[in-house]
Symmetry: C2
Subunit: 462 residues, 2 copies
């Protein structure tokens, strides 16, 4: 089998297929390890963890002096990205007995992939795991803005950073660069983190403002002009060589760097989709084994961001395991034993901003859309003893969405410091469809923040 | 109904009974709020959280300067204990419509409790929730050592602190006082945290040593002499007025304060147990509604530490809810709808030492004792990307105990920084008896430390 794209998803597909008895080739045009390793999860969290450590230490009476050393934070980031060299990941691929082909992979016909002059033919399947790229909105196209790539890989701290967007990338990068010394203005067309319950975005707006970010909601950029701004792949910029942004209310804003964080498009425009009868540039619609629908012969799979189910590394890896196992099973003439149960209804996500936000499953709005009769219960996490102990003046909120017919949880959102590691409890609760009655006997330890589980159940009426 | 003991357990019993339609009286001889609020969980975690925040910040490249200000840490502790005043808790009792009787409560006959000159008679039930006190071993009795009470409430930092014991109190207080400036020697007769899998104690020994604690394992105190040491309830001590400890290997050790952390005894020696036909000083054996066995008429209950099921605040509160509901149900002539399912097989615990240790359910040894056919899977948490991001050089380990017949988890132990909030996921998994197959679809977020769940399942062979 052949995988196009050696990000975490592609690596997992190939690894599982090899473990299932197949041979596998993986094609990569950039760095083995993909977006996550070099321009997303890893560098962003390498930047954000020091920010969180300082913030947390600064909110505990009896602790003094914690401060960031921006140059060392950037070094830390460089170390986690291996200075954008992929030797160790290429070694991993080799040790996993996967053949690596470097170059641009394109579908060339049924089960065929071209890589430059080379043409590979798969016996069983081809998997597209090419992920996504940032969308740069037209109004910013002329000023050569940062995308998530430059925001995670910039080599120096801009004096003034304007961030256009209100989603995860925008909120995380605002937290990081403000803490590292930039004066950040965040321009969101609506609110922040709008796919989540409103309190999450409200708490993050408060947290970012407390950190010094100029958060402007319901603000749109209507014009952008560049005075020689030198953004680009290396993240360089020239102080004083500013971009001027005009907002819809007439306000004019200057920035030394502008980050476009306004969405993602699938990396499918130049991978030969027509050879499979599909439209270039489209998201790839898959079934619960990650097989692309409506491709005759059923030889094409798509896993990870490119199938648009859940644009998150861990979900891509999960789909990668399912796809790799499914391809190996079908190669043996068997039907896949394990199929996707989570990509549509049990997707966890942690936003590493200030404060952290973590969620899994359906929001109240999504549950309503899916016709589930719900009851929504909320609780201020700051009232939990463990939260008061964790941070002075802890501000946070928890919400659970109960399926009232089945008495199970279909969604949980947690916003507040330290909630990132708390969401897996909710992920297990949602995935296992544990009833509230059962959850009542899962006693949270005192005094941890997790005691909010008890409070939510008590608030429900148990 | 009447409750003897206004700790968190007693408060929960009374509160639930009142919500169930009964009237309730609560008898307390010391402070309303109990050991947990003034001499255990709250002050210890108020001391330990700043220690953890500094330690965590100090293990992240890019963060500098985080340091403890011991006087402020003690102030923080004093604030969490309300300076050992219980006005706010007494107000809570009042607002919960519970009658508070201050004084020493003793059983005086069936459903009767004396408090000084007053005698109260319950219509339905009496609940003992008097908890435990520290055991001072004979060898230390002559030097008037600190117990957990003085260790959590001391007003100043001793120069040299010797801790006798290797359990939770010993490990937590060693971490706290060493960080606050004491030179701590920990003397454990065996290893550390011996009820848990060995790696937990090993990691804590490493962590405490790295923090500067002189950890001596397999060391027993054979003699203790006092040179005028002035320990006591106020935690005072005189520097230079030392205690001399002789160890079994002949070593002699001086300390300005000695903490006896060698176990707990039930607070039942002077509560009139003979009136119920029970032996003073004994633990109280209960059924799954917290009713004491072998008391004619079934009017006596015991919840929390005093029943010896699980000496932890959260388990006491859980049992309190069950007992209060059961008494209210029986008063209505109904059988209790909810009975104890967790106190014997699903007890979570977090040890807030360096590093944190968290566990739930059965250890491999306990599972074997219970005749469960198990497979034990371990994984080094430091190999998880989220752990490497959380702390440079992260050292930690995770273990899951699988019931091989049912393919469920019966126990999980996590040792490492930040694991305290991670254990609730395991508590839900154990309580809900989720199968490994289901847990496979509970995808942990990348890059969190919780991804160790995926690694454990992969290591198992999934």
């Amino acid at each position: 089998m052949i995988v196009i794209g050696a990000g975490p998803t592609g690596e997992n597909v190939a690894d599982r297929a090899v473990r299932g008895g197949l041979t596998a080739a993986i094609v990569e045009s950039e760095l083995v390890g993909g977006e996550c390793s070099y321009w997303a999860c890893m560098p962003s969290k390498a930047l954000l963890r020091p920010v969180a450590a300082v913030r947390e230490a600064s909110h505990v009476q009896g602790v003094e002096g914690a401060r960031l050393v921006p140059a060392d934070v950037l070094k830390r980031r460089d170390s986690f990205t291996h200075n954008w060299k992929d030797d160790s990941q290429a070694d991993w691929v080799k040790n996993a007995h996967i053949d690596l082909f470097r170059g641009h992979g394109r579908l060339a016909g049924e089960r065929r992939v071209s890589v430059g002059e080379t043409e590979l033919t798969a016996r069983h399947a081809v998997v597209v795991a090419t992920g996504t790229r940032a969308i740069v909105p037209p109004v910013l196209a002329g000023v050569n803005p940062w995308t998530s790539r430059e925001a995670t890989s910039a080599l120096a701290v801009p004096g003034r950073l304007a961030i256009v967007g209100g989603g995860v990338v925008a909120c995380e990068m605002a937290a990081a660069w403000q803490a590292l010394g930039a004066r950040v203005t965040l321009l969101a067309r609506g609110g922040l983190l709008e796919r989540l319950p409103g309190f999450a975005g409200d708490l993050v707006a408060d947290g970012l403002r407390e950190a010094g970010v100029d958060v402007r909601l319901r603000a749109s950029v209507t014009a952008a002009e560049r005075g020689g701004f030198a953004g680009g792949a290396d993240g360089g910029f020239l102080e004083g060589d500013a971009v001027t942004l005009t907002l819809d209310d007439g306000t004019v804003l200057e920035a030394d760097a502008v980050l476009a964080a306004t969405g993602r498009a699938p990396h499918t425009d130049d991978i030969g989709l027509r050879a499979a009868g599909l439209e270039p540039g489209s998201w790839l619609d898959v079934d619960d084994t990650m097989r692309v629908r409506n491709v005759s012969g059923g030889w094409l799979y798509a896993a990870g961001d490119v199938n648009h189910l859940a644009l998150l590394t861990h979900m891509g890896k999960y789909q990668g395991r399912i796809a790799g196992d499914a391809i190996a099973a079908r190669a043996r003439g068997a039907e896949p034993a394990v199929t996707d149960r989570s990509s549509r209804t049990c997707v966890p996500q942690v936003v590493f901003t200030v404060p952290e936000v973590a969620a899994v499953g359906r929001t109240p709005a999504e549950a309503e859309r899916d016709g589930i009769r719900t009851r929504v219960v909320e609780y201020d996490i700051g009232n939990v003893a463990g939260a008061a102990l964790f941070a002075d003046g802890y501000a946070g909120k928890a919400q659970m969405v109960v399926d009232e017919d089945r008495k199970t949880l279909v969604g949980v959102t947690l916003a507040g410091p330290g909630t990132g590691e708390m969401i897996h409890a909710a992920t297990i609760a949602v995935a296992s469809e544990a009833t509230l009655e059962t959850l009542w006997h899962a006693v949270p330890s005192y005094p941890t923040i997790s005691e909010v589980w008890l409070r939510l159940l008590e608030t429900y009426g148990m």
